[in-house]
Symmetry: C2
Subunit: 429 residues, 2 copies
């Protein structure tokens, strides 16, 4: 039996949808790495009774560990430490040494803000240094300390209390893993393997059929927990299993690899973004430039998300207006007049223009109608043309009619663009 | 007393962090609009016992309504309809008419995929048309029908079952609101007002001090539920209140407006993105062009997120390499040599170059070190220079050292860029 955990994300801003929670998913992944299974992620507002109710449910479910995020700030609506202290049966006490360490951090911060109110800082300092008696302190990255709080009674889950900002929570989680209190709570943890296969250009029902075929006499799936989902126009197949079932997984992965050789592009967690980067960096190294219209910079933005992209990315042209297509990417006016801005011909001219203007080996051109307006019967909203060209003359074009709203069309187009690049870079001369 | 709801998001892909949940927050906002208070958002995996445990907890908390998202697909791991049917004490039955309607949808889809396996489709069709007896059907947008399922016993919450893809869930939610079953469950709903103030360039502790001052003899905060949070480098203050407390809110908003006149930029939910767009569209209309280095297209991407941006956005130059800065944006080589790529001078040349090359009235230039490498003692990682210029000669420059990792530096820089544009567009001639 493995150790189990629940995650409690607090914050009215998360509960009401104004802020997207990044901590729950991140913590789930880290817990899996140390062999702890997740029961649930619960999001509640900054109301103490709701927090306590959620802690009560997770404890009743019999989890060994609860990790909370948020509610450790200096303002009065940040109540997590107090609620957790009460839940674990521990008194709140001001830790003078901790108060001094936080004060030193505040002093450094104060130099960056002029006209800072020192009384405000002092009150917040006091609040943040008041912690449940007997808790293990995780040193602050910002100004909020984290806590590992075992139950005073010895019965029930240990609670790890972390601040909301991911840049603070993440290093403090790693610190918490090293504490004796957390190790004691997760003693029964046993590692779980997780592997991912990624496919592109295949509907989910095809994969469902493959799973049924496997069940009817293919590799045994009994010891594998398989889930599938569509994400950013790609199909992800994630399998979790006990390390003892590794051979079963390998047989399953081979089975899928044979059935879906044309659409399975990743079996090692690598993203298409990373694969394109690796292909550009192969000897002889090639450089890349893009000219994009409907995606408005998102393709360049996605390429430059990767650190080190300056080694192959020359730059991009966001040619939103027709004028810009002509002056910046060198698209002939006649092409725009004859075929329209959203056409195979203009996509090709954009790819060629990007490569020529920016002196790159590989060019990518994108033009489309992101919506909500702008569609016609012949070219409905969501119509996109993509073109990619290589200095040896090999080139690929593609058109798709994307479903969904403006944001969806733009986001999915970036995935299609990266897959077109991947295919181009893999194509023989 | 107001109606209360819980949201149950299912999907191992969400629980384990591979996919970010967009439905919970979206549903929370919609529920608030119809006057239903949210108790909690719970995320569980595709394990029926975990789903049932979460439903059990939310029901025990006494909510009037539970909305679920996900787990309605054609594959065997999609079990939500069955679990909800069991929880509400209703038998699962195949609805033949619904099966026919889904089959018609599948037939249309089948034309888009070649080599489609029809057996796979048929099995999925049968599964998706098997629903709890007595449930109200929400017609599918994709292939999955939604459901409104009251408890067979008449005791306990009504459950609205919606599919996971946001493009399906959103219209189907609106359909569910019109059903008799949902109206019956939310009869006690009373509207809650929610207002947001946005500030830029102020630490959270300053605001905490303002809240304390209000409590010590300022406007009454008793009937206001106030939460504050930092998001994308902006400070958001959200207040929820009963419509009867509207005057209290107005007094509070006026109090903050007076104390923070220089940093409060939005009191009507408008984002800085929307404000910049509105300022550009004022008569005489002005056009915009950007040249960006470290943000690699994200600023252009953010500007073109808004539908209608083609009315003022001329285009962008993603000048990632020094060569591109010279050839595309016309930055003099001497400036790069004398001051370095990350400098006030180069940011100014980028702004001027963007405006000149793309024929725009307003130019924006961005250059910085996003990291993780590339920092020096003099210019550490996170150093960014921004410049914005107007055709009448007014211009603004700014430098910041951004905290956080590469993704953080890039994202925060887009917010600073938009605020610099806002200030430039508001500046007198």
């Amino acid at each position: 039996m493995s150790a189990r955990a629940g995650i409690l994300v607090t914050g009215t801003e998360v509960l009401t949808g104004r802020v997207t929670d990044r901590n729950g998913p991140w913590l789930a992944e880290r817990l899996r790495e140390i062999g702890v299974d997740i029961e649930a992620i619960v999001v509640v507002g900054d109301r103490p009774q709701d927090m306590a109710a959620a802690l009560g449910w997770l404890a009743a479910e019999g989890v060994d560990l609860i990790v909370t995020s948020g509610g450790l700030g200096p303002t009065a609506d940040d109540l997590t430490a107090e609620v957790v202290g009460g839940f674990q049966g521990r008194e709140m006490v001001l830790d003078e040494a901790l108060r001094g360490r936080i004060a030193a951090i505040l002093e450094r911060l104060a130099r960056r803000w002029k006209d800072l109110d020192l009384n405000a800082l002092e009150d917040g300092n006091r609040k943040q240094a008041t912690i449940p008696a007997g808790a293990t302190i995780l040193e602050p990255i910002g100004t909020a300390p984290g806590l590992v709080v075992p139950p005073a009674s010895g019965e029930g889950p240990t609670i790890v209390v972390l601040p909301g900002p991911p840049s603070e929570l993440q290093p403090m989680w790693h610190a918490s893993v090293a504490t004796e209190a957390l190790r004691a709570a997760t003693r029964s943890a046993s590692p779980i393997e997780q592997r991912m296969l990624r496919l592109f250009g295949i509907p989910e029902s095809e994969l469902a059929e493959s799973l049924r075929r496997a069940e009817e006499g293919g590799p045994s799936l009994e010891r594998l927990e398989i889930t599938t989902c569509m994400r950013r126009a790609e199909l992800e197949v994630v399998t979790r299993f006990d390390p003892a079932a590794t051979e079963d997984y390998q047989a399953f992965a081979t089975f899928l690899g044979e059935r879906h050789a044309d659409t399975l592009f990743s079996d090692d967690e690598s993203s298409v973004d990373e694969q394109v980067a690796a292909l550009l960096l192969r000897a002889p190294r090639q450089t890349l430039a893009v000219a994009e219209s409907c995606t408005g910079g998102l393709v360049a933005g996605r390429i430059t998300d990767l650190a080190g992209s300056s080694a192959y990315f020359r730059g991009g042209l966001v040619v939103y207006s027709n004028d810009a297509k002509v002056t910046q990417a060198g698209v002939p006016v006649e092409l725009l007049e004859e075929f329209g801005a959203v056409s195979r011909e203009v996509a090709m001219a954009l790819a060629d223009g990007a490569a020529a203007r920016l002196g790159a080996d590989v060019g990518l051109g994108i033009t489309g109608i992101a919506g909500p307006g702008g569609g016609t019967e012949e070219k409905p909203t969501g119509t996109v043309w993509l073109s990619a060209c290589r200095s040896d003359g090999v080139r690929l074009e593609q058109t798709i009619t994307m479903p969904g709203d403006r944001a969806n069309v733009r986001d999915r187009t970036t995935t299609f663009a990266l897959h077109l690049l991947r295919r181009l870079l893999l194509a023989p001369s």
